[in-house]
């Protein structure tokens, strides 16, 4: 390669990312879903919780594009409001779990020795539960409900972030610029925050995007089996559980909320994939 122009790593990354249509489209879909969720009170044509017994179990029409449920509630409006629940659960659980995991990884990788050994064994223990089993265990202790689902999913996101950041920290600790900073007596906290953390962040962001998809899917699963959001909350997984009684009669009750989950999770996965590819190329060159 004979590229002579010097680009900042961020600029290079952005350039790589922009040239890929799929992740870019995925990003736009996520922005659209987020805007729809944020503007739900103005955008949704009907109230998501008010029953309308004159329009019970109606198929898709101009008035109700996704049909109405057994209480006559508009499915489209419930899906738009449900986006709030799913995005909130995803963002909060990944931020909580990610922050705890990043902190654990930084401490573990930077201090090393006994602290590292203890923290990593603890992460092994968290990884010893298949993800959703750990979440169900947490919900069993705290009780069902969407708040507890957030904590449950956060807990099982911790070890993956911790391992990721620990690995990067170990590698960065050996680099010349960190050694140099250390040799001129930069304080340890400052060293970690200004020299190591920024190096670990790109990988964390990629992982967070992939993790958001998984978290939203897990939250919907937990609501579906009755351990998360409770009816009449317009949560996508809970809506699928409602639609289950009307299979073969009112397929749209199942079709549309599931489609919402699928599109959202797919968008986060495609975005994460695209970010990872763009990042990988930057690392390779």
């Amino acid at each position: 390669m004979s590229s002579t122009a010097i680009r900042s790593p961020v600029g290079e990354f952005a350039r790589r990312f922009r040239t890929r249509p799929v992740p870019l489209a995925a990003g736009l879909v996520i922005i659209a879903i987020a805007i729809a969720a944020a503007l739900a009170p103005w955008l949704a044509p009907f109230d998501p919780a008010t029953p309308d017994y004159d329009h019970v179990l109606e198929g898709p029409s101009w008035l109700h594009p996704c049909g109405t449920d057994a209480y006559g509630r508009d499915i489209l409006s419930r899906i738009i409001w449900g986006g709030r629940v799913s995005l909130t659960v995803g963002l909060l659980s990944v931020s909580l779990g990610g922050a705890a995991g990043v902190l654990t990884g930084l401490v573990s990788g930077f201090l090393g020795g006994r602290v590292d050994a203890v923290l990593m064994r603890l992460m092994d223990v968290l990884l010893a539960f298949p993800g959703i089993v750990l979440a169900i265990g947490v919900v069993a202790v705290l009780g069902p409900g969407i708040d507890n689902v957030i904590y449950a999913i956060a807990v099982f996101s911790i070890p993956v972030f911790a391992r990721l950041v620990r690995g990067t920290t170990l590698a960065l600790k050996q680099t010349l610029y960190v050694q140099a900073a250390r040799s001129i007596g930069v304080r340890r906290i400052k060293l970690v925050l200004t020299h190591i953390l920024p190096g670990a962040l790109p990988a964390v962001i990629v992982y967070a995007s992939l993790r958001l998809g998984t978290s939203i899917l897990t939250a919907a699963s937990l609501s579906f089996i009755g351990l998360g959001a409770r009816p009449p909350s317009p949560e996508w997984g809970a809506m699928l559980a409602d639609g289950r009684s009307y299979l073969g009669v009112a397929t749209y009750l199942t079709l549309f909320p599931g489609l919402a989950i699928f599109v959202t999770v797919l968008a986060f996965n495609l975005l994460g994939d695209g970010l990872r590819d763009a990042l990988d190329q930057r690392l390779r060159t």
């Binding site: 298949p130 993800g131 351990l227 199942t254």
Partner: protein, 306 residues
């Protein structure tokens, strides 16, 4: 190899012990008195005391834990609050259905995933690759329970070809096994493709091509074999993942397995069963991971020499 095996086996002991502390502590984290919970709302004080003794919930915590661990290791797991049957019996009834479901799902998912991955790898950049990888990322993002519901809607309710749920004949397996395996097939396909593409760039593959070895032999003999080594690891890990996935899928298809038992037990607050199930799930998970590592070390000497 033997030293590696022994070292790894010993390594799982502290992990499982810590898991057991969590599972034991679980009952103590619950709000209220566990003995009162187990005995039920209208139990007399002497009943509660009897339950406390039966559950080993008297004396200092460490002694309770020791007793509980001893009982658990001997397979005495207490009684279900819901059915009053011994927990061991409740769980053993549910064990085989879940095992069969995960095995069948794993088999088709592995076969399909590897086939799609190899096809995509061989035809890299062409339409087969594009279609294969779009299918794979969709499969990963698919809510399995949604797919299950749509399948029930079409094949059971509308067409009447397959039972909506339950356990017994091969027809009962078709939809649950398909639904459970779809995510695994997708992960396998993506992973196989990238392993395949990586091996394709190795020197020995180039050498083989240069010698004039036919493309078919290059693919089947030189590349596939080596590409499948990391795939073995993934197969094992996905098996553990399936155990988790079975919880939701069993609920969709009313499958009388461990997953649905766990969900029912959480709803019913059947703590002895929940404890035993979580312990069982994580023990299986740890053992599968151990098996995977051993298998990997068996095919790749570099690992065990580290």
């Amino acid at each position: 190899m033997l030293t590696y095996l022994v070292r790894r086996l010993i390594g799982t002991v502290p992990v499982l012990l810590t898991v057991s502390i969590f599972v034991f502590g679980f009952v103590h984290l619950l709000p209220g008195d566990p003995a009162r919970l187990v005995a039920g709302p209208d139990a007399q004080p002497q009943d509660i005391e009897a339950v406390r003794t039966e559950m080993g919930l008297s004396g200092p915590l460490w002694a309770q834990y020791g007793r509980w661990l001893g009982n658990t290791l001997e397979g005495r797991l207490g009684r279900s609050i819901k059915t009053k049957q011994p927990v061991v019996q409740v769980i053993s009834e549910r064990f085989m259905p879940t095992l069969w479901l995960t095995v069948v799902a794993m088999l088709w998912a592995t076969a399909a995933g590897i086939a799609i991955g190899v096809l995509s790898g061989v035809r890299r950049g062409r339409w087969q690759d594009q279609v294969g990888m779009v299918a794979a990322i969709s499969g990963i993002s698919f809510p399995g329970f949604w797919l299950g519901l749509l399948l029930i809607d079409l094949f059971s309710v509308r067409l009447g070809w397959l039972p909506t749920g339950g356990y017994g004949t091969w027809q009962h397996f078709v939809m649950p096994a398909f639904t459970l395996g779809i995510g695994v097939a997708a992960v396998m396909a993506r992973f196989t493709r990238s392993a395949f593409v990586e091996v394709m760039t190795e020197d020995y593959v180039r050498t083989a091509r240069m010698k004039g070895v036919s493309e078919q032999i290059v693919v089947w003999k030189h590349t596939l074999r080596n590409a499948l080594i990391p795939v073995i690891t993934l197969t094992g890990l996905q098996f553990g993942f399936l155990l988790g996935g079975s919880i939701v899928i069993e609920t969709v298809f009313s499958w009388p397995g461990l997953g649905r038992l766990l969900v029912d037990s959480v709803s019913f607050r059947d703590y002895p069963v929940i404890q035993a199930e979580i312990m069982l799930f994580s023990t299986q998970f740890v053992l599968i991971n151990l098996l995977v590592d051993l298998l990997y070390a068996a095919v790749n000497p570099e690992i065990r020499l580290q």
